[in-house]
Each structure stands twice: as structure tokens, then as C-alpha cells.
């Protein structure tokens, strides 16, 4: 992840986090993978938090005049 730069939209980040959480709840869990997954989840959480704190909406007025 590039530090300080949001590379994915929030839904993608949330989906990735949900997949990791599901993995932790599954019977596939092993310690070696858990360490890697935990680090990935923490990075996602940081990125999601940054998104929530910094992302702004973009307002674009459509140029078309609807019968005016």
C-alpha cells in the first residue's frame, strides 16, 4: 500500500477486510497465514480509516439543459 494515498474505493477495501475476517472465522486458520492476514487486515483498516477521514465528494453539474 502506498502510504497516505488511497488506491481503492471503500467498498473494495471493505470487501477485502470481510474476506480476511471470514478466513479467521473459518477452519482453514493456521498460525503462519494468520500472521500475514493480520498484517494485511491492519493495513486495510488504516487505509479505510484514512478514506473515511479524508475523502470528499465531487459535485459535477451536468451541462445539458433539460428543456430550459
Amino acid at each position: 500500500m502506498a502510504k497516505g494515498k488511497i488506491t481503492k474505493n471503500y467498498q473494495q477495501l471493505a470487501d477485502e477486510l470481510a474476506a480476511i475476517m471470514d478466513w479467521f472465522e473459518s477452519d482453514k486458520v493456521n498460525l503462519d497465514q494468520a500472521v500475514i492476514k493480520y498484517q494485511q487486515a491492519m493495513e486495510l483498516l488504516i487505509e479505510m480509516e484514512a478514506y473515511l477521514k479524508t475523502a470528499e465528494n465531487k459535485i459535477r453539474k451536468i451541462a445539458t439543459r433539460f428543456g430550459k
Binding site: Q11, L31, Y38, M42, L45, A55, N57, I59, F66
Partner: protein
């Protein structure tokens, strides 16, 4: 000399229409609907009258705002013209019920018609996307409704592209503009994730456009999930009934269409804690498993040692039993003749030199007679 003009009927119709078009290119007439009639499912004829006069109107069924009934008070805009064969009429362009009673009556008629078609059925409702990335916003740009919606949207969420279609939200042109905006979004690729149609409160006249059949059908026919929020306290408009979701006000529409980032930040903190707990518990379980295995291995090794010790002890007891020196100590002797051990009298002849090994030494002996 007389300057009296003499026209043929065709010329007079042409001159009349030219004159009227110049003087009154468009007129708006308000009065009571009478003799309303639809011909061949396409052409519409009706009169608008008051106590002393009545005017004939003509037009296309697609320009109707919804089902109409004689007695309704209407405001009709159109172009006056003299038809070469059917006489004077006004070709209508827009029709708007006016007055609270007429608006309600027209809306009731339309509501019954569209409900019978299933446009308001709950099973038609689609869920709104949980995290929209592109929102099509149809409202009057610069209005309080637009400002409220965008303000609350920005407070609650970020990263959304809002495509604002600036339309009139009241008056005769509003219905066509709103329908055109809905059509515009339908043509986009990719489509916006959700459409929001909103305006603030107003009188029944102001909000009449949201009971216009063309608007209601366009909302119901949208390929995108729709949210319609009209700020008013009275009955729901038909556009709201046809939408996938209704909002009470423009601000409420923003609250519905995106989640609250503050709540999600709290949820993220909870998830981070849950993840830590899961990982810690995984470590603890693994450690506990290791300790169990260590204990198990220790017990097994101990059991093996104990078994071996018991076997050794038994062997030691046996070795004592089989120890020839032990027999010598009890008084037995080992007899040898030369290098051979003697186990039978047949191996000995009288006079043979024998060696007798006892517990504490060896004797030489000579064999006697048997």
C-alpha cells in the same frame, strides 16, 4: 374606392393563424374541464369553461399529466389555431390541475390507475446500494434542497461523484424537465448507482409535478434504484410511491443514500479489536496446544522409561537365576576334562584327570570307578 378584403376560406384560415400566432404564440387558460374525451387511444379533446364561455382544446394523449375527469380545475397552456375544417381550438402543450381539490382528485385518479398496473407494488422495490459511488441528483441547482442534500452528504460520506441535473421542480415545464433528466441518466454508461429526485416543501400547486403521470412512470421505469424525497408533511406524492425508497426531506435523502462515516469509524475500531482478539486467541490456542503436546510427549517418554526399568529389573532377576556362579555358591561345581564341560558320567572313565570349579577356586581330581 372600397378597400374591403375578400378572402377565400383557406386564405382566411392562413391569415388568421398567422395573426393569432403573432399576437398570442402561447396562451394559458385556467378553468373547469368539460367534455373530456380520448379518441382511438391517441387524440384528446376537451373543453375548458367558466360561467359564460367555453374553449375547445385538442392534443396528444402523451401530453396528459394523468387521467382527467370532467369538473377538475385545470391550467392549460397551448397554441390557438383555426383548423381549416374543424374550426377554432387550442392545441394544448401542458395541463396542470390547480387548486387543492383538483390536484388531489387528479392524483387520486392517477393513483388508482397506476396502482392497478402494479407500479407501487412492494415487490417492485429494489434495495439502494449500500455504498454508492455515483449519484444522479435531480433537483433545482442552487435551491435550498440541493444545498441541504449536498451538505449532509458531505458530512456523512466522501468519495462520491454527484452528477447534478439542474431542473425546474415546479410549474408547467417541470414534468418534462424531470423526465428528460431521468432519460439522460438512463443513457449513461456506466449508469449511476442510484438516482435521487428531491425538492423542498411547498403548496399542493408547487408539488403537483410529482403527481404527473410522466414523472411517476419515468421514476418507476428507471433502471437505477430511485430515491424520491419531497419535503412535505401531507400525503406521499405518487413519484415517492413509485420510487424504490422515499425520503422525508432532501437532508433525509442524503442520510438514507450514504452511511455515516462516524459510525463506520467506530465499527472499524471494533473490527480492529475483534481481529486482535482473534489473533491473540489463535496464538493462545496454539501455545496451549504446544504445551499439551509437550506434556503428552513427556508422559510417553516417562512411561517408556518406566517400562524399560521394569524390564531391566526382571532381566536382572532372571540373570541372577541363570548365573552359574550363583549355583557354584550354592555348592554346585563345574566339571571339565581338558577343554570339555562334563555333563554325563559317560564322558568320564576311571582315572581321568578332572577339574572341579567351585565358587572360590578350582580343584583337580581323578575319576574313580562308576
Amino acid at each position: 374606392m372600397s378597400t374591403e378584403l375578400i378572402f377565400s376560406p383557406s386564405d382566411f384560415v392562413a391569415v388568421f393563424n398567422q395573426t393569432i400566432e403573432y399576437a398570442y404564440p402561447g396562451v394559458v387558460i385556467e378553468g373547469e374541464l368539460a367534455n373530456f374525451k380520448v379518441s382511438r387511444g391517441r387524440w384528446v379533446y376537451f373543453d375548458i369553461k367558466d360561467e359564460t364561455a367555453s374553449l375547445a382544446f385538442f392534443g396528444n394523449v402523451y401530453q396528459l399529466p394523468g387521467p382527467l375527469q370532467d369538473g377538475l380545475k385545470l391550467r392549460v397552456s397551448g397554441r390557438p389555431r383555426l383548423h381549416p375544417r374543424f374550426g377554432f381550438s387550442i392545441v394544448f402543450e401542458t395541463i396542470q390541475p390547480v387548486g387543492e381539490g383538483s390536484i388531489k382528485k387528479a392524483a387520486d385518479l392517477l393513483r388508482a390507475k397506476l396502482a392497478a398496473e402494479g407500479l407501487f407494488a412492494p415487490e417492485r422495490k429494489r434495495p439502494l446500494p449500500p455504498l454508492p459511488r455515483r449519484i444522479g441528483l435531480i433537483t433545482a441547482a442552487g435551491s435550498a434542497a440541493s444545498a441541504d442534500f449536498l451538505k449532509i452528504l458531505g458530512q456523512r460520506w466522501g468519495g462520491v461523484e454527484v452528477m447534478l441535473a439542474d431542473v425546474l421542480v415546479q410549474g408547467q415545464e417541470a414534468a418534462l424537465q424531470i423526465v428528460a433528466a431521468l432519460d439522460y441518466f438512463e443513457q449513461l454508461s456506466p449508469l449511476p448507482d442510484v438516482l435521487v429526485l428531491t425538492r423542498g416543501g411547498g403548496s399542493a400547486d408547487d408539488l403537483a409535478v410529482f403527481n404527473d403521470e410522466r414523472v411517476v412512470r419515468a421514476v418507476a421505469g428507471s433502471r437505477m434504484p430511485t430515491l424520491v424525497a419531497i419535503g412535505h408533511e401531507t400525503d406521499e406524492s405518487l413519484a415517492e410511491l413509485a420510487a424504490d425508497q422515499r425520503g422525508a426531506t432532501p437532508s433525509n435523502a442524503a442520510q438514507i443514500v450514504v452511511p455515516d462515516r462516524r459510525q463506520l469509524l467506530t465499527q472499524l475500531a471494533t473490527q480492529a479489536q475483534a481481529l486482535k482478539n482473534l489473533t491473540t486467541s489463535l496464538y493462545s490456542n496454539e501455545l496451549s496446544g504446544l504445551q499439551d503436546r509437550q506434556k503428552n510427549i513427556g508422559q510417553k517418554v516417562q512411561a517408556l522409561l518406566n517400562n524399560e526399568k521394569q524390564r531391566l529389573l526382571a532381566n536382572r532377576r532372571l540373570s541372577v537365576l541363570f548365573d552359574p556362579l550363583a549355583a557354584l555358591r550354592r555348592g554346585y561345581a563345574i566339571i571339565t576334562k581338558g577343554q570339555s564341560y562334563i555333563s554325563s558320567v559317560k564322558q568320564i572313565s576311571a582315572g581321568d584327570q578332572l577339574n572341579l570349579r567351585l565358587a572360590d577356586g578350582t580343584l583337580k581330581a581323578t575319576a574313580g570307578e562308576r
